[in-house]
């Protein structure tokens, strides 16, 4: 009797067969759930060097360990797969009703392999799995798909995670929409699209039992009161705050990182706080903080078009594209939601295209007469639409800036802002040198919400982030905990009945990060991949600062040492052994369980 169900579901779309497998207790304890469990299952179920958009690349949806209980901000799930942008592991956490419903179906995780021959959607109805035809849903947007599936099932409890037209046409940064947010970065939507999997509908009605419900409630009430109080007094939750100096970030890159201090952000920040646009702040299930700022897309009071504005999306589609007008940014985000695009990668791609346009690498013939100069409202909105439809210049940008810049050449790589292929936005390591290392290593890239970790503490910070994303406490809420390892360990013990030391939680985080690295090495990671885009070394910001290559190299070497990796950044066998991951080696040889895990 604990918050885990101890089972996971394997779905093979090719043969349309499913299988339920046991999750042994040591695996749950060692990898906690969420990102950790997802990474582990991905490694088990994927073939080495499989192309991200081939049927062999599985996609894993894994519930957080505390999900389904009352633990603060715990209604989380992780999506883990091999990214079509980077070719390495991508894992991201989302929260909402879909996460809660998935947990309550009685599965801790769902592994989806293979590919269907025609569009389908999955319906996981408590323990039952149905494959449903999705031909009629082809080309439909995420909100339309959700509405259509819910109408078909006739039950408002059915929650839908879907992809839009962008995922279907394999835009490399397409995302899955499973609530009010669009959080999944790295192209999970394209992986679903490559499997012809339009959506996953979930109806979960099962109860979650915990050994000590009274203790759990009391612990949660205490935490909730404190989290609510510290969040309310910090004022860092509103998306507009990232635009203002002195809000923990002293830099916000603008015009595709040509500038580091965005001008005119004050007026944009003021617009973000206006009641004409900001309708309400809502919360995910079990969250005492509430950080989802729901905006009305137009200033028409009768319009019912709404989007949730996130800081990263605001930074990427706003200042980075030279855009300081909120309605345009909201419209762009609404289009991202419609087509199922990651707004951060979309914004960086548009900014890159704008710089190409400025420099004459893209002519107005390429853009079909569209003005793509920085700050052009049509440029931002119509380019997003074109990416979603993969038409004209959108087809080029849909490949992500790494591939697009390689395709057009002529030095466009120099202003392609990506690390390992994943677009970066929101933070400028030239102004804040401490960000350079975590951005370059890229296990847990800095976000506008997190606090900047010191370079000595980056390992601990990353391990904590991995542990939090695995037990399933939302990263937004985590920073308001006073002593996260101790408080999370207590919640974990109350929910699972397994007493766990705070140090064990941190060790699990370290294990998960090593596994992440191990997966990337298996997929062909090389040392030069841990590096930053050339612009950050060459083009100084206003203050004259650039990232020093020498300093970054030294920081990376120090980081590898601290992690116990080799000087080349590889994970040695002793390290795996010390973290209790001996079985990984066997898995690599294909001897896993004695049977090939790739067939259901």
């Amino acid at each position: 009797m604990n918050s885990y169900s101890g089972k996971y579901l394997v779905v093979d779309l090719t043969s349309q067969k499913t299988e339920v497998r046991e999750l042994p207790e040591h695996l749950l304890r060692g990898y906690l759930g969420g990102v950790g469990l997802g990474t582990r299952l991905l490694l088990e179920w994927s073939r080495p060097s499989a192309d991200a958009l081939r049927p062999e690349n599985p996609i894993v949806f894994a519930c957080g360990g505390l999900s389904g209980t009352m633990a603060p901000a715990s209604a989380c799930h992780a999506v883990v797969t091999k990214s079509p942008l980077t070719g390495f592991l991508t894992s991201s956490v989302s929260s909402g009703l879909w996460s809660l419903a998935l947990k309550r179906t009685g599965f801790d995780a769902v592994v989806i392999t293979g590919a269907a021959s025609s569009p389908v959607y999955l319906f996981i109805d408590d323990g039952q799995v149905h494959f449903r035809k999705a031909d009629s849903l082809a080309g439909k947007s995420c909100p339309e798909t959700e509405a259509a599936i819910r109408r078909e099932s006739g039950d408002s409890r059915v929650q839908v995670a879907s992809i839009g037209p962008a995922g279907e046409s394999l835009v490399r940064f397409a995302t899955t929409k499973d609530g009010h947010r669009l959080p999944h970065r790295g192209g999970a939507g394209a992986v679903m699209g490559s499997k012809k999997l339009k959506a996953i509908a979930v109806r979960g009605t099962r109860p979650i039992s915990v050994p000590d419900i009274g203790g759990m409630q009391k612990a949660c009430a205490d935490l909730n009161a404190r989290l609510h109080q510290s969040a309310a007094s910090s004022s860092g939750l509103a998306p507009g705050t990232c635009l203002l100096p002195g809000s923990g970030r002293c830099s916000l890159p603008a015009r595709n990182y040509q500038q580091s201090i965005a001008e005119g952000t004050g007026s944009l920040a003021a617009e973000c706080a206006k009641r004409e646009y900001l309708l309400k702040v809502i919360a995910c299930p079990t969250c005492p903080i509430a950080c989802q700022h729901v905006y009305r897309v137009t200033d028409d009071p009768h319009s019912d078009e709404q989007v949730v504005l996130e800081k990263e999306a605001l930074a990427a589609l706003g200042p980075l594209c030279g855009m300081y007008h909120l309605p345009v940014i909201l419209r762009a985000i609404e289009l991202c939601q419609f087509y199922g695009l990651d707004p951060v990668s979309a914004g960086v791609s548009v900014a890159w295209a704008m710089e190409c346009f400025d420099r004459g690498l893209l002519s107005s013939k390429d853009t079909q007469g569209l003005d793509l100069s920085f700050g052009s409202a049509d440029g931002v909105v119509e380019t997003i639409r074109k990416i979603g439809q993969r038409s004209s210049v959108g087809d080029l940008l849909a490949e992500g800036v790494k591939r697009a810049s390689a395709k057009i050449g002529q030095g466009a790589e120099n202003w392609a802002m990506h690390v390992k292929g994943l677009e970066i936005a929101g933070c400028d390591p030239r102004a804040e040198n401490s960000l350079a290392l975590s951005l370059a290593v890229g296990l847990w890239p800095p976000t506008l919400n997190g606090s900047a970790a010191s370079s000595s503490g980056i390992k601990d910070e990353e391990d904590l982030a991995a542990a939090a994303d695995s037990i399933g406490i939302c990263p937004q809420a985590r920073r308001y905990f006073r002593d996260f390892p101790a408080e999370a360990a207590r919640l974990y013990a109350l929910a699972t009945g397994v007493p766990i030391e705070p140090a064990e939680l941190c060790e699990a985080g370290e294990r998960i990060n090593n596994l992440h690295r191990f997966f990337n090495i298996r997929e062909g990671w090389k040392q030069p991949d841990d590096w930053l885009p050339p612009r950050l070394f060459k083009d100084p910001v206003e203050s004259g600062a650039v990232v020093s290559e020498k300093d970054l190299k030294a920081a990376i070497d120090g980081y590898y040492r601290q992690r116990g990796w080799t000087a080349e950044g590889l994970v040695p066998a002793e390290k795996l052994k010390a973290l209790g991951m001996d079985d990984i080696q066997e898995m690599l040889k294909g001897n896993w369980h004695g049977t090939p895990p790739h067939t259901v």
Partner: protein, 143 residues
């Protein structure tokens, strides 16, 4: 005895559903949102509200029950359910103008808010992190 029911300040409510978790924990001893006596309505995201039994003055649920399973508890002014009589027919669900009654599929009996008689206060109110829930008290007018 005055009439009491749970009321929600829509401006404060964020739709976090902690009330549903607290309710099922108090009444069922586990986190089972299907059996929560209080429901968060979030059909259109900016409008949040909760639904729980309002203990109506004209008690349509009691009037409609064909088996006489529901009655008014004079002492607490809440609806009392005789589980042995309830067949889960759902007529009270149809009659309820607020949609505040649900069916427990496992026992085929109806469930509704009872204001947590075994606790010092309704648990949804106690656990609401935004203090959006409160007890509305009004005098019951004798017909």
């Amino acid at each position: 005895m005055e009439r009491r029911h749970i009321q929600c300040d829509r401006d404060k409510c964020t739709g976090c559903m902690i009330c549903e978790f607290a309710c099922s924990a108090a009444n069922e001893g586990r986190f089972d949102l299907e059996l929560s006596r209080i429901r968060v309505l979030q059909a259109t995201p900016p409008l949040m509200d909760v639904v729980a039994c309002r203990f109506c003055r004209n008690t349509p649920c009691i009037n409609e029950c064909p088996r006489g399973a529901l009655s008014l508890d004079e002492a607490t002014q809440t609806i009392r359910l005789d589980k042995a009589r309830c067949a889960g027919c759902g007529w009270c669900l149809e009659a309820c103008p607020f949609g505040a009654i649900a069916i427990d599929e496992s026992t085929k009996t109806v469930i509704m808010c009872n204001l947590c008689p075994h606790h010092d206060q309704p648990q949804c109110i106690k656990f609401c992190p935004r203090k959006a829930l409160s007890l509305h008290v009004s005098a019951r007018v004798k017909d």
